[in-house]
Symmetry: C2
Subunit: 197 residues, 2 copies
């Protein structure tokens, strides 16, 4: 009897593919096992359980997304970099909806595993270094980073949920939103004390 040659990584990858196909919440241990040609009990030698598996998918997604963004923005600056960054983000979410969804679920991920994954940390660093091109200083820089991540994630998330009625193509709104973000970062407003009237 041949062995399947399972590892935690291979199991995670198969699970990620499956999650992309059927949606993260339809991901089951049994289905992953079937895809790998293995009985479901065999998976537990490599992965603690379904919760753990979803955490691993989230980490994989974060790593992959970060790499894509890093490649896309390499050598670019200013609005070029911003658009490349945002497009890479959105493209990853489109290409890997299951993995992307996994990254946005509040989970207790194995701390040791999380410490080993460079993705989440590096993603933040990338954003900071890109936004440093604009004339922002702390704490505005942090707020701008959060605004940008919020907007990108929110857009992609609403788009995936069918939140944009088909009146106007999402792609056009997307481009205009990036225009707006760029303009906003160039003219970041001072804190607004009290009623301006």
């Amino acid at each position: 009897m041949m062995r399947a040659g399972l590892t935690a990584e291979r199991v995670t990858l198969a699970a990620a593919e499956l999650a992309d196909e059927v949606g993260l919440d339809h991901l089951t241990m049994s289905a992953v096992a079937r895809r790998l040609g293995v009985k479901d009990a065999s998976l537990y030698a490599h992965v603690r359980g379904l919760e753990d598996l979803r955490g691993r998918i989230a980490l994989l997604g974060a790593d992959e997304k970060t790499i894509r963004i890093a490649e896309a923005t390499a050598g670019r600056a200013g609005k070029d970099a911003l658009v490349a960054y945002a497009d890479a983000w959105r493209a990853y979410a489109h290409d890997h909806p299951g993995r992307y969804t996994a990254t946005q679920i509040p989970m207790e991920i194995d701390p040791e595993l999380l410490a080993r994954a460079p993705g989440p940390r590096r993603a933040i660093e990338l954003t900071y270094s890109m936004l440093r091109a604009y004339a922002l200083t702390e704490p505005d820089l942090t707020d701008a980073v959060r605004l940008m991540r919020s907007t990108l994630h929110g857009f992609v998330s609403l788009e995936a949920a069918g939140g944009f009625a088909h009146a106007r193509p999402a792609q056009e709104s997307w481009l205009r939103c990036l225009d707006a973000l760029h303009s906003l970062l160039e003219h970041w407003p001072a804190p607004d004390e009290g009623d301006p009237r």
Copy 2:
């Protein structure tokens, strides 16, 4: 033997409460039945199944959220209205995380049920009428509405997922993001054709 007096609405409400407590993805038919003091099979007289129940929770959440926003923004204008709108949005997500999560999941909701629910439609209308206070014309108005919804949803969603490391309080970033949104709406940029260098 007394009857429990179930209706689709009561089942949905119990399910929504449970989803808020344990998280939407830990919502089970059995648990809802237990909370109502009823066997799980009894629920199927009022609700098609778990999927349908989640759809109903989503619709309930959309309705409630819309009402809260409408109340908060009533009689306000300009930045006042914007802040009230955004705060109400965020507060609802905090108060009812399960229902809020339900609204952002791509689902096939019973079309007849959806047609009966005023929430989703009215939410969009509210946003449009608020943003009409700024000097925006179509298609910029639609893009601005989408940007605003994206940013609010993204912020709330990332916050719930623990996406903001505790370096800076989320509340402060939130206020500054609203400043930024307001400023952006007042100075919505023209489309950026080609490379600006």
